[in-house]
């Protein structure tokens, strides 16, 4: 794993330097073209514990120190950025380097933006729910109580953005598939379907990740424009399920089957708040008929949301989200007897409440996912206090409740944890 990270880091840095060399001015010293680099970052200590015993995991849910360094510079023709975290992880008992960003950005014409390298990518309208945003997420970081920024994992990609009067187009090409940092037993216990039970560190089966450069690639497209104050977008994606969505018939290991996705979204003012709606069709391309019991069904996904300021500095947001399996009868027929079966539809309601106090230095926040169909819930209460301009204190919890051990949030019940963090930013 360390080696893989080093390799990826190396590739990122080399491509950055190459790009710099290709574009750099011929005359004068190469470095003369660059502005003096700006260095920023933070140092953070974060610790958390499970509030109950988990027979497959340690009591510590998160225990780490992290130094993030961000360096940026620019020339006449481009901007450059590097961002990376040095991490001492006392849960996995290892040191790690998390290369977060390393990119070149250029605006070569009035109609085109280009960003190449390791970057964080986001689009879509959901609040902590994603339909057409098929860029990698770090669910482990999210569930163990790291800063919410870490929910977004970086992509190694080229992003081209075209801007016209009629429509704007984003094209993101990822030459080698970037999966989610999905739950896989090393930090969190989860429902292990092959054995019909919860598992954790005893079942850290590595998934078979498609990793051929330029063959196992991803392409994501967004077309968008604003129509009388409403932001309207169409999306397309060709790649893979971002978290394992099947099992290899030969090795039994989790796999990432092919996925094509098509969708649309709209967002704009409604009453005194902001409303959004999004829809997506997930075509599970390796199992279009839905008959293969080892590969996820195709799905429709729907989302509506509304957010509003209730009183000054108190915001509320609600969302309703549905995942609908499209070949449910085929799924039922082919599903192995004895193993837990999913419902056809998964319904999720979310509620966000955020209150700012003490000159906006104290933030009380509660984000709740509740699924009436799965009978499970995930609560994310947190308190964040900016003690000074540099020092922030945070505490919170990740609470999982469920009736059954195999539902989406219910499977994580024994991972319920509380955490606290101190961060010094510079």
């Amino acid at each position: 794993m360390g080696k893989a990270i080093f390799k990826k880091t190396g590739i990122g840095i080399i491509s950055l330097l190459l790009a710099a060399l290709v574009f750099a001015d011929e005359g004068g010293s190469f470095w003369d073209d660059f502005s003096p680099p700006q260095i920023h970052g933070f140092y953070e200590m974060r610790g958390g514990y499970r509030t109950q015993n988990d027979r497959y995991q340690k009591d510590k849910s998160v225990m780490e120190t992290r130094l993030q360094i961000e360096a940026s510079t620019f020339t006449d023709w481009a901007d450059f950025k590097f961002k990376g975290d040095l991490l001492g992880d006392f849960v996995l008992e290892e040191g790690d380097f998390d290369f977060r960003e390393g990119w070149v950005f250029a605006r070569p014409t009035e109609y085109l933006d280009v960003k190449i390298g390791r970057q964080i990518l986001t689009w879509g309208t959901g609040d902590l729910l994603f339909i057409n945003d098929l860029f990698p997420k770090d669910w482990q970081a999210f569930f163990i109580g790291r800063d919410v920024d870490y929910l977004k994992a970086p992509s190694d990609a080229a992003k081209l953005s075209f801007f016209t009067e009629l429509i704007n187009i984003d094209i993101v090409y990822t030459p080698q598939f970037d999966p989610d940092r999905y739950v896989r037993g090393e930090r969190l216990s989860y429902w292990y379907a092959p054995e019909n039970r919860r598992a954790g560190r005893d079942r850290r089966t590595p998934a078979e990740r498609p990793d051929d450069w330029f063959r196992d690639d991803e392409i994501a497209v967004r077309l968008y424009r604003t129509i009388s104050n409403y932001e309207v977008a169409l999306y397309g994606y060709r790649g893979f399920w971002k978290s394992p969505a099947g099992q290899s018939p030969t090795t039994g290991r989790p796999i990432f089957p092919d996925l094509n996705a098509y969708g649309a979204s709209v967002r704009g003012p409604l009453g005194s708040g902001i409303a959004n709606a999004e829809i997506g069709y997930y075509e599970s391309a390796d199992d279009k008929s839905g008959k293969d019991p080892l590969i996820n069904n195709s799905e429709m996904r729907y989302l509506v949301g509304y957010t509003q300021e209730i009183v000054a500095d108190l915001n509320a947001g609600v969302q309703y989200y549905i995942e609908q399996m499209l070949d449910y009868s085929a799924y039922k027929r082919s599903h192995p007897t004895g193993s837990k079966r999913r419902d056809r539809d998964r319904h999720v309601v979310t509620l966000r409440l955020t209150q700012l106090l003490w000159n906006q230095n104290l933030e009380l926040s509660m984000f709740t996912y509740y699924s009436p169909s799965d009978n499970d819930a995930y609560l994310r209460p947190s308190i964040h206090y900016k003690a000074t301009d540099h020092l922030a204190l945070e505490t919170g919890a990740n609470v999982f409740v469920g009736k059954s051990p195999h539902t989406f949030f219910g499977q994580f019940e024994d991972n319920t944890n509380i955490y606290a963090a101190v961060r010094y930013s510079f």
Binding site: D79, I120, T122, N359, Q360, T388, D389
Partner: protein
């Protein structure tokens, strides 16, 4: 007879007062002219503008917090709508965040607001909230930064001093604001609002904004050299909480020719160089 004489004196006195008042009025612009001009000078000079802003918030105990940002503004040539682009540089935890506003002059149309969070690459659309809430945790309110529509209040010229026109503004919808009225002290030569005093129900003063420094900033307007009077330091004091915020403006430029597209998602995600340095 005595009564008649008294009547005559009273009449002539009233007459002369009216004549005097009329003479004064000839030099004094009307309330509407004063507030319209003051609003223009305070918020609308030039087609567009840019400034670096440093904010220091000092609480009752003397603890300070700082904010630094670059603000770009562009006027709609056809009406009083405006677009604002605010690029944060400090403190570290909000660095590179962008706050964008499309402000609409019409009272029945809410402003559009966006916030860009760079660590998540997330463009969040923010519900048009109460404009009288704190701007970035300071004692300035959103409305102080982007202006309060003149149509929200009824205005009265209370008095004229050597330096100032003193305007009393009373909200038409008192339930939507925390004050009962405010006084604006408008400089007679530049028409710049130099002081604003906010009063509560019991007539007590609880909030004061003062323009501490005024500079003439050179700019080009239609190819000609002009000078715009510009506040380069202003202070707001919350007399109840004991907190104060000072804002200083530097690197002020007018009529840069900012493109409309700057105020779109493209530049939210990657700010223009004008906004970053």
């Amino acid at each position: 007879m005595k009564r008649k004489m008294a009547g005559f004196f009273v009449t002539s006195f009233i007459f002369s007062v009216i004549v005097l008042a009329h003479n004064v009025q000839a030099q004094t612009p009307s309330v509407d002219e004063i507030i319209t001009q003051a609003n223009h000078v305070a918020y609308y000079q030039g087609q567009d503008g840019k400034s670096k802003v440093k904010m220091t918030i000092t609480d009752r105990q003397g603890r300070t917090r700082n904010r630094e940002f670059i603000i770009l503004r562009k006027n709609d040539p056809d009406n009083d709508d405006q677009k604002y682009f605010v690029y944060f540089q400090a403190p570290a935890d909000v660095r590179r965040m962008v706050f964008m506003v499309h402000k609409y002059a019409a009272l029945d149309k809410d402003d559009d607001r966006w916030l860009y969070l760079p660590n998540l690459d997330l463009v969040r659309r923010i519900a048009a909230g109460d404009k009288r809430t704190s701007f970035v945790g300071s004692d300035f309110l959103y409305e102080d930064v982007s202006g309060r529509s003149l149509l929200e209040d009824t205005h009265e010229l209370l008095r004229t001093t050597e330096e100032y026109y003193v305007i009393k503004s009373v909200p038409k919808k008192p339930e939507t604001v925390e004050f009962t009225y405010f006084l604006v002290f408008i400089d007679k030569t530049t028409f710049m609002p130099m002081k604003m005093e906010y009063y509560e129900k019991d007539e007590s003063l609880y909030r004061v904004i003062e323009s501490k420094k005024l500079e003439m900033i050179k700019a080009k307007e239609d190819g000609k050299e002009v000078e715009y009077p510009t506040v380069t330091q202003s202070v707001v004091k919350d007399l109840k909480s004991g907190s104060a915020t000072e804002m200083t403006f530097s690197d002020i430029q007018y009529n840069l020719g900012l493109n409309d597209t700057i105020f779109t998602e493209r530049y939210l995600k990657r700010p223009p160089r004008e906004a970053m340095r």
